[in-house]
Symmetry: C2
Subunit: 207 residues, 2 copies
């Protein structure tokens, strides 16, 4: 005899698959909907179905989009002489929310991580190469900003991208840059890790 | 120009309403589904709709159920001479998972909390009284175990239940008990709060 009705167990099971959601939180979420009036569960259900039906990848940058091209790639206001290569669509959101970047993006779809069975085959390197060629044919200069995370896998992926464009770089056709590493705003030197301090020292600038 | 497709924003918005889910986690959840293959979002959506369609309250104890009566109330194995009064269905799950109780339950639907605008009117006190009368008519003795949380509101609700059954208690028709308060297993006396220590001392037992 199970304690929970089967349909509730199924919802808890689905919620538990979400990142950062354990069985306890998943139960709390399911019971939230059992308590809430106004058919809130149906609202979430409809939103999910609507999202799955309407969202695709932008054919140029592979960010999420409801059209063939995302809002950013299709905007005439965005500079096409710089392309920022990120791991995931959420990284695009982070840049956009900060309002510090006015170029276009490219979403790789992850990082090379042999431990997780993700090889370069799984990521969009071929598409990245095509996109860079496409932008190069329209612009005089192109900067490829590698914005993978400063993790082991992110660094490995950055090297892979560097190799990918080594020849074009030698030919002087493009510029390859990597996001700066150093102390984050508000950090306390005392608590900074060794690698961050090393990078901050290496990257020190004249004032 | 919004960064996110509208359908994604809608899903994030719905996820943010869940208890303990902030905007960042809600985004991560939505993007999890955008990344995942196998129509996982539809699976959650269908599970939610199925749950909302099939789950109702047990007519006896108001626990969640897919039938008129929940698995516990309808089981001939459960003792009907004790009823454990809890706040929420998840409290029933906690008791059941621990396997320490073999009686029936009653789910109040919350606690009296004037600060949140929840008065005794909103809770199932009338239904509790009826259920207790019903059990009394079948059994020689009945123990009402008050298992509201040891919070201010839980204690106030426990007092209210005591008042509710004061007369029956005087007539010797039932026994009213409250869960023991004291040190939890594995606790460290050094870090126990004053009230817990006080309750542990007050409730000390001969060994």
């Amino acid at each position: 005899m199970s304690v929970l009705p089967k349909s509730v167990e199924k919802v808890i099971d689905e919620f538990s698959r979400l990142p950062g959601v354990g069985p306890k939180s998943a139960s709390r979420m399911a019971y939230h909907y059992l308590r809430s009036p106004n058919k809130d569960a149906t609202k979430l259900a409809n939103a999910l179905i609507q999202m799955e039906d309407s969202v695709k990848n932008c054919k140029k940058c592979f960010n999420v989009a409801e059209e063939e091209e995302c809002n950013i790639c299709s905007s005439p206001l965005r500079k096409k002489d710089r392309i920022c290569v990120v791991e995931e669509p959420l990284d695009v959101v982070a840049f956009e929310n900060s309002g510090v970047y006015d170029g276009v993006y490219f979403v790789l779809g992850g990082v090379i991580s042999p431990a997780d069975g993700i090889t370069s085959e799984e990521l969009r390197f071929k598409e990245l190469k095509n996109r860079v060629q496409e932008l190069l044919s329209d612009a005089n200069t192109l900067e490829v900003i590698i914005a993978t995370n400063p993790s082991l896998e992110g660094e490995a992926t950055a090297s892979y991208i560097y190799d990918l464009f080594k020849n074009l770089l030698k030919e002087g056709k493009l510029k390859l840059t990597r996001l700066a590493m150093g102390l984050p705003t508000g950090a306390d030197l005392e608590y900074a890790d060794r690698l961050t301090l090393k990078k901050a020292l290496e990257g020190r600038r004249n004032i």
